[in-house]
Symmetry: C2
Subunit: 261 residues, 2 copies
Amino acid sequence: MGEIPESHPRRSSLLARQKLVDAAAEGLLADSAMIAHGRGEAFDYLLGEQTSDSARSAIREASARLLTAERPVISVNGNTVVLAGEDLIRVAAVVGCPIEVNLYYRTPERIARLLTRLAEQRASVAGGPAPDGWSEDWAKAVSSVALLGDGADGSIEGLEGARAICCTNGIGSADIVLVPLEDGDRCEALVEMGKQVVVIDLNPLSRTSRMATVTIVDEVTRAAAALVDEVVSGHAAQGDWDNRAALSEALDIIAGASAGE
Amino acid sequence: MGEIPESHPRRSSLLARQKLVDAAAEGLLADSAMIAHGRGEAFDYLLGEQTSDSARSAIREASARLLTAERPVISVNGNTVVLAGEDLIRVAAVVGCPIEVNLYYRTPERIARLLTRLAEQRASVAGGPAPDGWSEDWAKAVSSVALLGDGADGSIEGLEGARAICCTNGIGSADIVLVPLEDGDRCEALVEMGKQVVVIDLNPLSRTSRMATVTIVDEVTRAAAALVDEVVSGHAAQGDWDNRAALSEALDIIAGASAGE
């Protein structure tokens, strides 16, 4: 798409778009991944392309729940790896949990390519600086992050076909799953299995958003970066979480943008 | 993406998505075309995936202006050809105007492929039934639709590079251009050249929507089908057109959806 000037007001949005175009050319994405990204762009546009106060509260709540869970897992698809893979590896390092590649349109080739990309990202993150506030051995913590998805041997009850496949030592036995996805059925199935589900979804009206335990209505790159800060800070949960109120606040922002406020 | 059941509530949206995925595989689309489609999907979702009353008024206004113009032209890109090519050929046959392939990310290969696809669509439309209300020789009218874009020899003032290229006997000398696009610069440049610009854009907040003479805030497949009916009916313009009011009504619908109405 050509050079994007440093001063362009929508530079981060255009860079994200370019990353996805490149990743599609490398075979990392499903056919419809860019359509999903475009949907997100539109909602982010209406949200002002910034992390709202209610999204920040949701990120803090997600952090507290991930830190106190027994078996947290971060589930990633192609778009997530491409846009936020490194920050989610940082989150996994701090929380001490695995990352599972789990795809709606699952193929062995894309699973393998995404695991390779994640391993590269993990090496890069391990060799880089620790997040502010982290005092332990960073390279060791990062290198300990297990990357799952290959040879998946479990299944999500209530789903059919390839969408049901998961890893027994990952999503299968998790008590909480952080999953940036747009799949209402899967979100519902995971909740039905008794798991907490934290989603990152820019559409506050989607079934995924409405089914989740905690919905972070934010762009995944920004949300993952903010989540790194939160898990390092280690704040406790703030009491009862009202997910409907969080969604309602996101809808108010969109309605405000549409009303020209 | 697999079979889509006849009963699926979002069947038309999923079929459109599949058409684009197929077209991308055939090299008909720019890298970012599916992202643009996704943005449209999100806005259409908020608009209730139906043609609003104000969109219908805009379609009628567009029809009246196309029918009374001296040199109308329909400008198409890849997404438009794939999703609405046949109906736009019907519109061109009734109005008696050419169709010009004009691309933001212009390559000779995609121009050639899209012209081939349009020629196939023209043959199919010519061999099919005339629209209700049409009493003349349909095959002849359709076969007369000129398909432009190859060997473009003109330019749009105020734009740089490949985006400025157009056909002198098409957009270059048109007094009105129907152009389903998301390119605020180009819309502005065409208006600056003294042309009327009718756009089909699902984002009522976009620069394109705000710069156009008449903005149809609707999904291109639905809008093109409705436009066929309107040009055959041949209604006259209804007086002064207030494009800001039309955009405001679309925004009200989005705000209403966001407020849970």
